[in-house]
Symmetry: none
Subunit: 208 residues, 2 copies
């Protein structure tokens, strides 16, 4: 069965060339191509696409809003953003809107086709520079981390393992040390963070 696609792109020449591109290939079924997404609710419900190719900078209602709508109406439908922007803000908004892929428009057509198949198969195709931006969005702890910094690397490793839901024994296995050593590390952690349970330690170190 071909991958059913909807395309939203206000630039007519680009839209038509993409249309042409998909029309020649049996593994794709371009169900529709539109210059704006003012009626996207109807179009989504009518065509039930597997993948939506979405430009960000659209007239009237932009691609970010549209992505939100798609994910609300059809959570299983994958949204692949296609845009000239690669600034942090746009990437962040797109990700929060539920997009699972993000390609720059300079991406060669063959890569776009590949990306559609990728995203349909559960992947998240991204231009390398976009992927980097996504990573940079993560609150990578540097400043606010006063609490975590009090712990030695080993203690941090123990706490991370606990935070992922492991028991003492599982931590011991994962870190290749005895359970007694795990217990000792945890005692130190409790002293340093002034807490008295695993969940309290996780809370102080990671959640706030």
């Amino acid at each position: 069965m071909p991958i059913r696609i909807l395309l939203y792109e206000d630039n007519a020449p680009l839209r038509e060339s993409l249309q042409l591109l998909f029309s020649g290939l049996p593994q794709f079924d371009l169900a529709g191509a539109f210059g704006d997404c003012m009626n996207i609710e109807k179009e989504i419900q009518q065509h039930t696409p597997d993948v939506v190719l979405m430009d960000i900078d659209l007239p009237g209602r932009n691609g970010i809003e549209a992505a939100h709508i798609v994910k609300r109406l059809a959570p299983g439908t994958e949204v692949l953003m296609l845009t000239v922007f690669d600034d942090n803000d746009k990437v962040f908004q797109a990700v929060c809107a539920g997009a699972s892929g993000y390609l720059l428009k300079k991406t060669p057509p063959s890569k776009i086709l590949e990306a559609v198949e990728d995203i349909y198969n559960g992947g998240a195709p991204m231009s390398p520079s976009i992927a980097r931006k996504v990573l940079e969005l993560f609150p990578r702890a540097p400043a606010v981390n006063t609490e975590l910094d009090k712990l030695t690397p080993r203690e941090q490793a123990v706490l991370r393992s606990l935070a992922s839901g492991n028991s003492y024994k599982m931590v011991a296995d994962e870190l290749q040390i005895s359970i007694e050593t795990v217990r000792t590390h945890i005692k130190r952690i409790y002293e340093k963070l002034h807490v008295h349970s695993v969940s309290e330690a996780i809370s102080k170190a990671f959640l706030k």
Copy 2:
């Protein structure tokens, strides 16, 4: 100038074949290859690599800890994780540790070389399935909270209270219910989330 690389991989055959792979190419300079990262501080300072290829599952001190160390000692050095794990937890930890790339070991050698160049040039090479995991880590507004949504409002309140480090008794006081009720709610939470401890529940509901 070639890209200077350090390699950490405990599987000797794989390590050696990667060594061989790099040694034949002038654009790469594999400065060292090690079976563990117990002395990584020294090695980083001595070789000042551009890129560190890091296995996650190493004996003694794992790749996550090592990535933290690398980024602390040499923030400009890029860390490319190479691993068999693609679970949310490992990916999250790697990202938080400062890794900028994440490849599954099944990745063909040619793609690994490409990824090293990508990461050196400011990209963030990731296996598609990994990229998807990274996206899923984001707190998406309309709720990727599939897990949290399974819980009733009261159960969510209990779990939030636990996540802030409270004991059963403290939860009971906070929510003005008896400790037995708290225990019952927690039992339901465990059933619904398929977990067996407070920290595991917190992990499933909030951290992933």
